[in-house]
């Protein structure tokens, strides 16, 4: 029965190890449930002032693409915006935008003022399409492969490190894969 006295301390140290590992985790980051699944079915009109809307067919046409969820009322979107302008300028991968729960005039003004990095835009006025994509906040960014499957989702503001270290390499890798 002497061993029984040692049970609490053993259990505790296991717990402490788990907690230590836990400190390095991010409990608010929810992985996407749509990884490796096809892009949802949707069809959105363009944001006001632009003429190319965004729908499912635009994303499974054999091209690797990036989809960025943004809004004019979203502070971090403003922060990551220059990165998207760079992506557009580099021209290596098409970038599309889903405008989430935004006022048409505000969205138009935002894009006109700061620059429009998006090849196509879709105005999701009531957020329903966002729900179909599993969006729960803005900004979010998705990597879509040639077959129109979601391969990666980044939640939160995009940084240069993540763009260069994670997103763009994945895009290149997917582009190298043929049909």
């Amino acid at each position: 029965m002497r061993l029984g006295y040692a049970i609490p301390v053993v259990v505790f140290f296991a717990l402490a190890v788990a907690l230590y590992v836990g400190l390095g985790l991010k409990p608010r980051d929810i992985p996407s449930a749509l990884i490796d699944k096809p892009v949802p079915t949707f069809d959105l009109a363009a944001v006001k002032g632009r003429d190319m809307g965004l729908k499912t067919a635009d994303l499974n046409n054999g091209e690797v693409a990036l989809v960025n969820v943004f809004a004019s009322w979203c502070g971090p979107c403003r922060v990551e915006h220059p990165l998207w302008m760079d992506v557009q300028a580099a021209g290596k991968v098409p970038l599309h935008g889903i405008n989430y729960k935004d006022d048409p005039d505000n969205a138009a003004k935002w894009l006109d003022r700061f620059g429009d990095p998006y090849t196509r835009t879709g105005a999701d006025r009531n957020g329903r399409v966002g729900i179909d994509w599993g969006v729960y906040g803005v900004p979010e960014t998705f990597v879509i492969d040639r077959q129109g499957r979601i391969r990666y989702k980044h939640v939160g503001v995009m940084t240069r490190d993540i763009l260069d270290g994670r997103i763009l390499p994945l895009v290149r890798q997917l582009q190298e894969q043929k049909q």
């Binding site: 006295y5 609490p8 402490a16």
Partner: protein
């Protein structure tokens, strides 16, 4: 200048804590009387310096000294004075300072009131308190210094969170901390006993009052938090199994087990290892709670600064304190030989069952709270563990316990007469069955379990009354003799009966509100009437009003029952200019049988407003029951046997006298 004084005082307190942690404990081990005697003045000194530091921080808040970073982040010149003061502990740094203030206060209290303790035991207890103090003082000084200055103080502060400007909320942390830190006393006593290698009934008698006081405070703190959530958060919820709520509930569960376990040590000189382990674990859960709240490891509404660096520090401290104490337990525990034998069916047996179920319940809550973390760490998978899990695991564990609570006190020590106890509960059984029948008959909705819940509550209340009546032989001898018996009963007997009655009331309150709450939510236009329960509410009008630091949408509702006007309710939604947040101020009409709860929401742009109404039966019984529990605890605390305390062990004194001669 004042802030620097405060800072310096903390450093001095740290030095004293180091002294307090080392000299007395070595002195007790080696029997060096002057070193043992250092404990008392060191404890007084530590408390004095920390009190100075706390006063300095309070002063900075009161005069709105925004050059102090904590004040700048968390206060505002426009705040009413009382909330400036409560703002002192409404943030991470200040609340840590409150923690160590209370820690040193308890240490000083033992130094002051512990004259009936043998000096060596007291020295060890104070040393352990000192060690805990070192850990927290280091944490504060190294990572969470409240006295940090800002090079460019802002014109005004940042901290006008409207939700914090509420009395219930302001007062809730000090009570919680008094509870958490109060359990450090039991912890220190347990460590001291392990070091001495001896746990005897006298030890249990010394530990009980401190543990009981801590338990009373923690009960108040938890009840206040729950009550606050109910009236402030807009839909009448009162418990969410949120990680931080669980972090306060777990020490409460184990603390209750500890209280009862200590009785057995005192009366029967057995269950020692259990009691020591409970004392260690209860405080360990307090520390774990601190870790959870402040490290960002779990998502919670309550979470403070989510800073993994601080998390590492607290975790290291946790590993050292809890790990060290559990190692000590593993090493010394086996030598705590028990005294009295007892049959499984006996009062001891009932208390073992009590320990068992409370500990399992606590482990269940711990498992559910930390599981998302475990799974994420192991496999990267994310799951949520919410109220459905806790409700389906915690409740089944509690039910047998509650049934046993009524019977346990009726059993004798060593060998109890279960049949006899159940026989005495005849009346209780009938009362419970009667209420069950009435409930089933009267209520049309609600789960079947509701009937059972009410029955259990009545069972508890009836059982406590029956047991108490039995002690004074009410109705079997003449009233004057009963009265004399009552006067002669130790206060703890009254305390126990009252506390158990309180539990019964809580059970009934919970059953009522969870089973029979009625909700009616609609868009209403002025002039319309809505019915809920027995009430008819007519929406008179809605408009914007201005408060001292907010503007609000207020709706006026006339409430009537069967056509007779009963009251007017005016729920609001408040917007504060300094933040984007809005708060809902529900209008509540409390009655003994239940609350009418009204909430007004957004306008729909077409002249209507979103409204929600609830009838919540028996909900106030929850906090009233908690209040009764605390009264019972306080009455027990006032039992003169606790004040007189156990006589000092003569052998210890004699040895000391010889040593110092």
């Amino acid at each position: 200048m004042i802030a620097e004084v405060g800072h310096f005082a903390l450093v001095l307190a740290l030095v004293l804590a180091i002294v307090q942690s080392t000299l007395p404990i070595i002195g007790a081990h080696r029997n060096i009387a002057p070193w043992i005697a250092v404990a008392r003045p060191a404890a007084f000194g530590q408390f004095t310096f920390i009190a100075i530091a706390f006063a300095a921080l309070t002063y900075a808040f009161i005069v709105s000294d925004f050059s102090v970073a904590t004040v700048a982040r968390n206060s505002h010149s426009a705040k009413p004075l009382i909330y400036k003061i409560s703002g002192v502990w409404g943030n991470h740094e200040g609340s840590m300072l409150l923690w160590i203030l209370i820690l040193s206060l308890f240490g000083a209290a033992v130094a002051l009131f512990g004259n009936n303790l043998p000096p060596r035991l007291r020295a060890r207890v104070l040393s352990v308190q000192g060690m805990i103090g070192i850990g927290f003082l280091l944490f504060v000084l190294l990572t969470s210094n409240p006295f940090e200055r800002l090079a460019n103080p802002p014109v005004d502060g940042n901290g006008l969170n409207p939700l914090l400007q509420d009395f219930g909320l302001a007062v809730h942390p000090p009570f919680l901390y008094l509870g958490y830190v109060g359990f450090s006393m039991a912890f220190s006593f347990a460590i001291a006993a392990l070091l001495e290698g001896r746990v005897d009934p006298a030890w249990a008698r010394w530990v009980r009052p401190w543990t009981l006081a801590a338990w009373c405070f923690l009960t108040v703190g938890i009840a206040l938090g729950s009550w606050w959530a109910y009236y402030e958060l807009g839909w009448g919820g009162w418990w969410f199994w949120d990680p931080v709520e669980n972090a306060s509930f777990m020490p409460w569960l184990l603390g209750t087990a500890l209280l009862h376990s200590a009785i057995v040590v005192e009366k029967r000189d057995t269950l020692k290892a259990w009691t020591i382990l409970l004392a260690i674990l209860t405080f360990s859960l307090s520390l774990l709670g601190t870790f959870i709240v402040r490290s960002g490891v779990l998502t919670s509404v309550h979470a403070f600064a989510t800073d993994p660096e601080r998390g590492v520090f607290i975790l290291a401290f946790l590993a050292f304190t809890v790990g060290g104490s559990l190692l000590l337990f593993a090493w010394r525990g086996p030598s705590l030989k028990g005294g009295g034998l007892f049959a499984p069916v006996s009062r001891e047996g009932a208390l073992v069952l009590n320990n068992l179920l409370l500990t399992t319940a606590c482990a269940t809550v711990l498992l559910g709270t930390l599981y998302p973390l475990f799974l994420d760490a192991l496999t990267g998978e994310k799951v949520s563990v919410g109220p459905p899990f806790f409700n389906s695991t915690f409740v089944p564990l509690m039910v047998p316990l509650l049934v046993a609570v009524a019977i346990g006190p009726m059993m004798a020590w060593k060998r109890g007469d279960l049949a006899g106890a159940i026989g005495r509960m005849k009346f209780g059984f009938f009362a419970a069955a009667a209420i069950a029948f009435v409930t089933w008959y009267q209520t049309t909705d609600g789960p079947v379990l509701a009937v059972f819940g009410m029955a259990v509550g009545v069972w508890l209340v009836a059982g406590s009354i029956i047991e108490w009546a039995g002690r004074i032989k009410l109705f079997s001898i003449n009233p004057a003799d009963s009265w004399r018996r009552l006067r002669g009963l130790p206060r703890a007997a009254h305390g126990m009966a009252l506390a158990h009655i309180g539990v019964g009331l809580v059970v009934m309150g919970i059953t009522g509100v969870q089973s029979w709450t009625v909700e009616n939510a609609r868009v209403m236009r002025p002039g319309e009437t809505i019915s809920i329960g027995n009430y008819d509410l007519t929406f008179k009008n809605a408009g914007t009003i201005q408060g001292p630091n907010y503007s609000a949408l207020r709706g006026i509702f006339d409430v009537s029952i069967d056509g007779d006007h009963v009251t007017t309710m005016a729920p609001e939604t408040r917007s504060y200019p300094t933040s984007t947040m809005t708060t809902t101020e529900a209008a509540i009409r409390p009655t003994i049988v239940g609350d009418l709860y009204a909430v007004i929401g957004e306008p729909d742009g077409k002249g209507g407003y979103a409204t929600r109404f609830y009838v919540k039966p028996l909900v106030h019984w929850i906090w009233f029951g908690a209040f009764v529990m605390v009264i019972g605890g306080l009455i027990s605390l006032s039992d003169r046997r606790h004040r007189v305390g156990a006589p000092a062990r003569r052998t210890a004194n004699k040895t000391l006298a010889e040593a110092s001669a």
